[in-house]
Subunit: 275 residues, 2 copies
């Protein structure tokens, strides 16, 4: 039976959605329809949402699941009128935390405040995005001295999205440099990279997957042939091994996983942590 789940937040809803999906994803036998409701930050909006939830309950023939991270107690109280099974993150965890920490939370004293990032931290994130774009694909190499990490790998092995994810999510300055046939022929590290060996991180990928990705871009080209992909991947891995460059196989990993795994391995601290 289909069940509707509402993920409700007074902010962007990104955290509650991630949490909600991960919780409800544990129930294989229930088919959920997810509805995300960000910016529910007033009693009026909550009241309106209650009507929506109740209408869905009627339509589904069963009360929806509601997971919320609303901080303001009056807004949350208004939401409680809904005909729903409610999991309220803040009220669940803040009481035990208050006891442990021996102090009242802003929440419980009715002085809720949103968690604003530090301005400098936010600036780091945005600057890192521009850094990633300006130093994408080996186009420019003269700013490598200010990079936190330089990703190398064959074309379409995942360098660009990973750099951008690290920038946006963690404020990491990540450049990337494509490894091409010329680089392999040479038998040495590309000149632009030599003095930054300690910043290099290699990407590799299953050749069949790489061929599939390249085929979407340039169908039936030499570039996309399995033979070419196989050769580039083999050469890239040899290069990583020869120069002791750490590397990761991206085939089965998302940009989130690639980024965090690389950062753990390379010992790079998260500079920013968006809400």
């Amino acid at each position: 039976m289909k069940r509707t789940a509402f993920f409700i937040s007074d902010g962007t809803g990104i955290t509650v959605e991630a949490l909600g999906r991960s919780l409800l994803g544990q129930f294989e036998h229930t088919e959920f329809e997810y509805v995300i409701k960000p910016f529910i930050d007033s009693v009026e909006k909550a009241d309106h949402l209650v009507s929506q939830i109740n209408a869905v309950a009627e339509l589904d023939g069963i009360r929806p699941v509601v997971i919320d991270t609303i901080v303001d107690v009056t807004v949350r109280t208004a939401l409680k009128n809904a005909n729903a099974f409610m999991l309220d993150i803040f009220s669940t965890f803040l009481a035990p935390l208050e006891e442990e920490l021996g102090s009242a939370s802003s929440y419980s004293v009715g002085k809720s405040h949103s968690i604003k990032e530090d301005d400098q931290v936010y600036k780091d994130r945005i600057d890192s995005v521009h850094f990633a774009i300006d130093n994408d694909d080996g186009g420019r190499t003269r700013h490598y001295d200010t990079a936190d990490i330089i990703l190398i790998g064959p074309s379409r092995s995942g360098k660009t999205p990973t750099c951008l994810y690290m920038a946006l999510q963690f404020g990491i300055r990540a450049a990337n440099y494509p490894l091409t046939e010329e680089d392999f022929d040479y038998g040495e590290l590309p000149k632009a990279l030599r003095q930054y060996k300690h910043k290099l991180y290699g990407l590799t990928i299953d050749p069949a997957r790489l061929a599939a990705i390249r085929n979407e871009r340039k169908p039936d080209s030499r570039y996309a042939s399995i033979r070419q992909c196989d050769q580039e991947v083999t050469e890239a891995e040899l290069l990583y091994q020869r120069f002791g460059i750490p590397y990761i196989n991206t085939t089965h990993f998302s940009v989130e996983e690639i980024s965090t795994r690389m950062m753990v391995e390379a010992g790079i601290e998260r500079r920013a942590s968006p809400k």
Copy 2:
């Protein structure tokens, strides 16, 4: 008194960190030091982490706060040996959910599985990243027919990071086009945009903030002068109003907030939702 908080996950740790910061951020009077521990996916790693937590407890003179989203029950049980105040997301919420849904979770039957994104959804995200880069800054306009949204606004008002965020987080195909003095002189919508009026979304920004951002890039230039910024912002807002283009002031918003607010206003559904 300083208190250490560990955010622990068997995955990337992104969700538990966001949740943990938002919970502990409600306690203004406690100074936390956050430690993020991703990929704790074996009993061995959990045991090792327990030693770390206990060492920190000794050093701090007070037990740390631990918030975790580990799914596997044996790993989580190992973690329970730590001298810490533990908030366990899964054990807290899965029991009531099991009761409400009338079925056991994979978690409780010991068959935990990570929530993998659908391959197609992931592909959409990565394709959208390449789309955003290829269609950044008005460089190319011929693919606007396949864009979900086209951001317009003065240089450095936040278009590029917002497009990339929408791509990475939500799989939205977002292009962007810079509004320049020529566009304003003309008194009409730039030619490349005319047939896509329904896809346009404007950005505006406080001129003083814009000048500060531009000054970092080109100090003391005409481009960065408050007079120039003021004029461009004024003209951009006039253009939005004249052509009935929705717009948002980015001055006090993060890319997360800009993206989600725009998507709510423009009625654009989230296509992807990373874990």
